[in-house]
């Protein structure tokens, strides 16, 4: 049975629908990310789970209990805010202890749990610091400790890493994942950063304009995007307009000079979606010319002008000689690596 369940949840502000028909079942201990561009309704959904907003329609259930009628203070959820929202007039330890005080945890146990929580996030010895004397990363850790010390049934993270610099963010991602694994806390992360969503989550909910575009594991959403939006939003992708050629049997799928046996179930114009790292340079295939070649350390990035429009190719820097700018090349890929959608290129 689902641990946390959102059943056709919708939120309207006046005439504007911000979240619509949102259904999701989160298992116990699962790490789920809500991924989408700003304004896609992901934060609104999180706030409805937290109880800061009431859904206009639908139900939110935790272990089968209806959560919408429970006051936010009694939901027992841990929340880490984008701005951290630490209490500036309290020390790190006082911040972490606040939730325990509200639960009337005995003093000795409270002190021990605060110490353990701060140690867990790597802030042992920072108990008496005030938030304003801590770096962004440290404040973030205090916020995480404060949310986790109350042993929340669900941990909600609202873009918690977006205010950190790139290097720190990467470190925190790994740490966050480890802490979550160790504690087994069911976690929902809201983010617009696809790398963050992919590296942290068990499942990703890709959202656009208040609707769910796709729910799947990071690999599924990346390899088998359900819509043009998902393929564009998660990583780089090439979309080529293609046609099904029925003049000769067997029926073939044709994009410029590239062709392959057509899969069943498609007719008329289709769109081939293929990741740049899955395209290779071959002897046959889509004719293209390399416009720019960018060296990025462990890989090369090629921007090409092909018969079917611009294309991006990524090749591992494996020591092989790579084509130079201006070279005419042929782009080829395996049928298994591409995904096919009916209709013209988006």
């Amino acid at each position: 049975m689902a641990y946390l369940e959102l059943d056709r949840v919708a939120k309207q502000f006046g005439a504007q629908t911000v979240v619509d028909d949102f259904s999701l079942a989160v298992g116990k201990g699962e790490f789920v990310s809500f991924l989408g561009p700003s304004g896609c309704g992901k934060t609104t959904t999180l706030q409805m789970i937290a109880g800061f907003l009431d859904p206009s329609r639908g139900a939110i259930r935790l272990e089968g209990r209806d959560l919408t009628s429970v006051h936010p203070a009694r939901r027992g959820l841990g929340i880490v805010f984008q701005s951290y929202a630490l209490f500036p007039h309290m020390t790190a330890a006082e911040n972490v202890a606040f939730g325990l005080e509200m639960r009337r945890v005995p003093r000795a146990e409270c002190a021990e749990r605060v110490r353990a929580a701060l140690a867990m996030v790597g802030l042992a010895g920072y108990e008496e610091r005030y938030p304003r004397r801590m770096s962004g990363g440290q404040q973030q850790r205090v916020a995480l400790a404060r949310a986790l010390v109350i042993r929340p049934s669900v941990l909600l993270l609202d873009e918690p890493l977006s205010n950190l610099d790139a290097k720190l963010r990467e470190g925190m991602q790994i740490e966050l994942r480890q802490i979550q694994r160790t504690l087994g806390t069911t976690t929902i992360l809201v983010t617009h950063d696809q790398n963050e969503a992919m590296s942290l989550s068990d499942r990703i909910v890709v959202m656009s304009q208040g609707r769910i575009e796709q729910i799947g594991t990071p690999q599924e959403t990346y390899e088998r995007p359900a819509s043009a939006f998902v393929s564009q939003f998660l990583g780089k992708t090439n979309d080529f307009a293609a046609t099904i050629d029925r003049t000769n049997a067997p029926v073939r799928l044709v994009a410029g000079s590239w062709s392959a046996p057509a899969p069943a179930g498609f007719s008329g114009p289709v769109t081939i979606s293929i990741r740049p790292e899955r395209i290779g340079f071959g002897d046959a295939g889509l004719a293209a010319k390399i416009v720019t070649r960018i060296f990025q350390g462990n890989h090369w990035l090629f921007q090409c002008e092909s018969e079917c429009g611009p294309a991006i190719v990524i090749r591992q820097n494996d020591g092989q000689t790579q084509p130079a700018e201006g070279d005419a090349v042929r782009l080829a890929w395996r049928v298994d690596d591409m995904s096919l959608r009916a209709g013209g290129a988006a």
């Binding site: 027992g76 701005s83 509200m102």
Partner: protein
Amino acid sequence: MSAAADTAAANAAATADAPTARAPWALAAPALMLFIGVLVIPLAMTVMLSFHDWGQYKGIEPVFILKNWHEIATDPYYAEMFWRTFRIAILTTLLTALLGAPEAYILNRMSGRWKSFFLLVILGPLLISVVARTLGWALLFGGNNGLVNKLLMSLGAIRSPIPFMFTETGMVVALAHVMMPFMVLSVWAALQRLDPQIENAAMSLGAGPATIIRRIIMPQIMPGVLSGAIIVFSLSASAFATPAIIGGRRLKVAATLAYDEFLNTLDWPLGAAVGSSASGVTSTKHAGVPLLVVIPEVDVPSAMGAGL
């Protein structure tokens, strides 16, 4: 590098430093001159004046005596008047804090359009002279002809007019009304600095509305309340128009007394003594209260760690 070159470099650095050391003074000079010219010198002259002698027929005599100060220190009339001034200022400050802080909090929680409307309502009175605002109170509560008194008496709710004019209560109420915008504004400024998510954060940790106000909001807006209190206290302690209209000649405060000594009795030296002792008390407050505001802000262990 040779020692000689070192010395030369040091000299060059020293000559380069000298103009930069003078620059702040040069830049501050115009403001400093104005400050000295219009504040320090007149104040010093007032203090000097308070040591002069005065008589009904001889006028001001430029001698150095302690007569005026002795009179202020020993005559209970002055002690009572100073005590009244202090009491009124403190009560006004408390009243504005008690009403103004919640007012600012409510204002801050209002949605956009209502917020600007009510902010205008609160600040609007600042555009009207204090005299007009205080006379408004006199029109409402002034004896048998006051509007409110008339209404309540015709309804039979009260028999005689509400004692408001020429009472300390009346002065405190009218002063609090005049001073309210300063308190609301300064608390509001403190509320602006609050993290908008902070109440949600406290709520998610299990805090109820009363706890959020007491444990989270109050400590954070205290600096705003205190700076509002400084403004309100000093303006109330030196207020002239409101005490003059509501308190009249019966209930004198420091400002009205100094005015009367100068312009009615024409005893300038005594007026100067009253004025300078009153401003002495207020400026001590000015120096003292900010320290109270600043001290809790200093994070003691880390300040010690930094070798402060």
